[in-house]
């Protein structure tokens, strides 16, 4: 049976034959962030793929990885496209550099993991938290459990980590704060 779950009114499907994604999201459902480690290269990769991008090797193991990292870049969405997100704006889409394997195997490579910014309880982060988050913010992964065999990785501010004094934000926030207050 394919995994079929409803999430925010969207139907998400992982087909039986899509073994890599099935296993990836299945581990998430157990609260484990696991990435494929190529047998020949010894390197982790993301998102799930059918072969190692460095060697073409199809053999791999699912390695447990610590879900901690730094925001490399982001999007901050104010105009929703998908109906499910109409009540969530503004929301952030994050590109997070994992600490694990950062700068490997070459300087500009990293495991850059997607996700939204959420609160520690898993809700979409409200504007007052979003305004404090930018490039350089330290984040940690948590899982949004949607079904027995499916959870979605998300990111929350890592309150235990040392944070940059001022993460880089798109320069318009004061104006925008005024606009928000005038709503």
């Amino acid at each position: 049976m394919p995994i079929q779950v409803e999430y925010m009114g969207m139907m998400l499907t992982v087909e039986d034959v899509d073994r890599e994604n099935r296993e990836f999201f299945g581990f998430c459902a157990k609260g484990e962030f696991r990435l494929q480690r190529g047998s020949e290269s010894g390197l982790l990769r993301y998102p799930p793929t059918t072969a190692c991008p460095w060697t073409g090797d199809r053999e791999y193991e699912w390695a447990l990885v610590e879900g901690k990292g730094t925001i490399h870049s982001y999007g901050e969405i104010h105009h929703p496209i998908q109906p499910a997100f109409k009540t969530k704006v503004p929301y952030m889409t994050l590109v997070v550099d994992l600490d694990t394997q950062k700068g490997q195997p070459t300087e500009h490579e990293a495991l850059r993991i997607g996700g939204n910014l959420v609160t520690t309880s898993g809700d979409f982060a409200p504007p007052e938290i979003i305004r404090q988050v930018g490039i350089g913010t330290r984040v940690k992964m948590l899982f949004n459990n949607i079904a027995d065999d499916f959870a979605l990785p998300q990111w929350t501010v890592d309150t235990e980590a040392e944070q940059p004094e001022k993460p880089w934000r798109y320069p318009e926030d004061e104006q925008e704060q005024l606009k928000d207050e005038n709503y």
Partner: protein, 422 residues
């Protein structure tokens, strides 16, 4: 094989100067076409045949591209009485135009056919919206797509935003600098009677328009329109028999990509503020035997203001990191040193997934841009080269043009064309 030797064009083995665009055709650019994509395509291909002075029997190849939102080559060929020796309908959006021109050259060179009509027909506003609302956002989310669409990360603007923001972070690029792209293209569109948006905008207009998805304001984003467009490619000797001067193809790059592309496009290998043009430029300029400094007019894809800026930078029209300064210097405006998207492009004229930028550069090389300048008794424009609102948009000495097509940050296509030397 290393690119440096494989793409060495010094022996002219890459067909430099042997093929040309001999015909171009468009429908109007509008919202609410009330026509099927099949009907739009028939109009555009028919207009291009008329422009090329060709009959149905002169065309024997057809190529089109779409994202499951359009009609098919055999239907259009049959509608127009064309018997095909070759056709193919390809999946794709931006970056397809130049890539398909390259394919057309290849199939003609292989002896498969003689002349290829390439079209893109779309109701990008009234049917399958290019911005991603409606039909596109309602499609099921399966497998790999979960890694972005489940996060509300779907439209082009949402997908590209981290790349754009990282460029601001890496190089100090400002919203005002990038807004200058819209200012320039709107200036050009004001001299294009067919443009969907003919109004001139200021930097303030752009940065004060509402945020869609940081760093994109509403006016940083292209227009959604309904239209079809067509380009006819044939051998140069044949093109010379057509009514208009040929736009001679000097080099083509098709869907050249950054390493390790993935479902999120290109994040696994940085710098993510570098786009595919960084790789494509080596093929583009070497095969054409020219450099960026030789180019008179550019057509850098403007799905967003940022895409124009990033590509001009990575193709070497300015130093890496100086794209913001370059696009805000006046260089890319009509009257500047190297105007970009002189028709108004996707930001203003209409959205065609790259076709109208190649069409415009073809017109520039013909020195017959369809602005509001008076025509002589042969119907040829008498250009004034004054770029006041509602006036001329012909570049005075346009001899060499570059098109920089964009699929996404990790994949791009490109083409250099020259005025015929005969």
């Amino acid at each position: 094989m290393p690119a440096s030797t494989e793409t060495d064009a010094s022996t002219n083995k890459f067909l430099r100067g042997k093929y040309a665009i001999c015909g171009i055709g468009e429908t109007s650019y509008r919202r609410g076409s009330e026509e099927s994509t099949r009907n739009l395509a028939t109009w555009a291909v028919g207009n291009a045949m008329k422009d090329a002075g060709m009959k149905a029997t002169d065309i024997d190849g057809m190529l089109s591209y779409s994202g499951n939102d359009s009609t098919f080559s055999p239907l259009i060929a049959n509608d127009l009485g064309i018997r095909l020796n070759f056709y193919m309908d390809v999946h794709g959006g931006g970056s397809s135009t130049e890539a398909l021109i390259g394919i057309a050259i290849g199939v003609i060179e292989a002896g498969m056919c003689n002349t290829v009509a390439i079209f893109r027909a779309m109701n990008g506003y009234s049917q399958v919206r290019i911005g991603g609302t409606g039909a596109r956002s309602a499609t099921p989310i399966i497998g790999d797509q979960i890694h972005h669409r489940a996060y509300g990360w779907q439209s082009a603007g949402q997908m590209f935003a981290p790349t754009f923001l990282r460029h601001m972070y890496d190089y100090g690029t400002t919203p005002e600098q990038v807004a200058a792209v819209k200012v320039a293209h709107s200036k050009h569109a004001s001299n294009n009677p067919k443009a969907y948006y003919k109004k001139r905008y200021t930097v303030e207009d752009v940065v004060q328009s509402r945020i869609i998805c940081k760093p994109l304001h509403l006016l940083d984003c292209c227009v959604e329109t309904d239209n079809a467009t067509c380009i006819i490619v044939t051998r140069l000797d044949r093109a010379r028999d057509c009514p208009h001067p040929p736009a001679v193809i000097q080099s083509v790059v098709g869907r050249c990509s950054k390493p390790r592309g993935d479902i999120h496009l290109h994040y696994q290998t940085g710098p993510i503020s570098t786009v595919a043009g960084h790789y494509a430029k080596n093929i583009l300029f070497r095969n054409a035997g020219v450099g960026p400094e030789d180019i008179d007019v550019t057509g850098s894809y403007d799905a967003f203001t940022f895409t124009t800026m990033l590509q001009l930078e990575d193709y070497g029209f300015c130093k890496k990191g100086e794209g913001g300064a370059y696009v805000s210097s006046g260089a890319i405006e009509l009257g500047g040193s190297r105007p970009n998207n002189t028709s108004g492009g996707h930001l203003c004229e209409g959205y065609t997934h790259g076709m109208n930028m190649v069409i415009e550069n073809t017109r520039q090389l013909r020195h017959d841009v369809d602005d509001s300048c008076p025509t002589d008794k042969n119907g040829k424009k008498q250009h004034t080269y004054t770029y006041a609102e509602g006036g001329c948009r012909q570049v005075r000495n346009a001899e060499l043009t570059a098109n920089l097509g964009w699929a996404h940050p990790g994949t791009g296509s490109a083409m250099i064309m020259a005025k015929d030397t005969r």
